[in-house]
């Protein structure tokens, strides 16, 4: 069974750094794009970016580029979303998702359970 399991909830202060993870199982992790999506409470879904673990090809949404870093370690089948300096506005639930077809243009067929990040000012 294809699964994505995300790391647990985080509570941080503004200015702190953070890395959350998304671990894949049940398939060849290096061969499918993994993307990250944000949902602020009461708001819609936002596409953050996507990575191909096989060669670490990464695409970012202009809205997030420069503030977050996406990475992956195919040896342990994990993708990461990282902040060097959190803001209160980063408070949200973050999901990872895998595209089955269409590469970085594809739909997310499989999703992680989400990671809640709370940043206090």
């Amino acid at each position: 069974e294809v699964q994505l399991v995300q790391s647990g909830a985080e509570v941080k202060k503004a200015g702190e750094s953070l890395q959350i993870s998304c671990k894949g199982s049940g398939y060849d992790f290096s061969k499918y794009w993994i993307g990250w999506v944000r949902q602020v409470s009461g708001k819609g879904l936002e596409w953050i970016g996507i990575i191909y673990p096989g060669d670490s090809d990464i695409r970012y949404s202009p809205s997030f580029q420069g503030h977050v870093t996406i990475s992956a370690d195919k040896s342990i089948a994990s993708a990461y979303l990282q902040w060097n300096s959190l803001r209160a506005s980063d408070t949200a639930r973050y999901y990872c998702g895998r595209t089955d077809y269409g590469g970085n243009l594809g739909a997310f067929h499989t999703w992680g359970q989400g990671t809640v990040v709370t940043v206090s000012s």
């Binding site: 879904l45 996507i50 695409r59 949404s61 970085n104 997310f108």
Partner: protein, 111 residues
């Protein structure tokens, strides 16, 4: 402001048909990029219901269908059921952004 525009809300009675529109532009849907649709209940993972404009993942009932015309796409749900009540989002690639984006979301209420 989302480049993919959806109505904030739609509603229908059980058994009825509803459609949710997703209006884009020549840099996304109008350029021929595929449109995907998700069903989402807050606090849970989104669920893919339509991909590549009109394909259904395994397990999604054929009450859900997708279509595209020009720079717009639509999700149709027939035979509405109470469990269809959720938020629905469209997604497409945008060449000017060099990445994908979601529509603003539509809340479906089953009356």
């Amino acid at each position: 402001q989302s480049v993919l525009t959806q109505p904030p809300s739609v509603s229908g009675a059980p058994g009825q048909r509803v459609t949710i529109s997703c209006t884009g532009s020549g840099s996304n849907i109008g350029a021929g990029y595929d449109v995907h649709w998700y069903q989402h209940l807050p606090g849970t993972a989104p669920k893919l219901v339509i991909y590549d404009k009109m394909k259904r993942p395994s397990g999604v009932p054929d009450r859900f269908s997708g279509s595209r015309s020009g720079s717009s796409a639509s999700l149709a749900i027939t035979g509405l059921r109470p469990e269809d009540e959720a938020d629905y989002y469209c997604q497409s690639y945008d060449i000017s952004l060099s990445g994908s984006l979601f529509g603003g979301g539509t809340k479906l209420t089953v009356l």
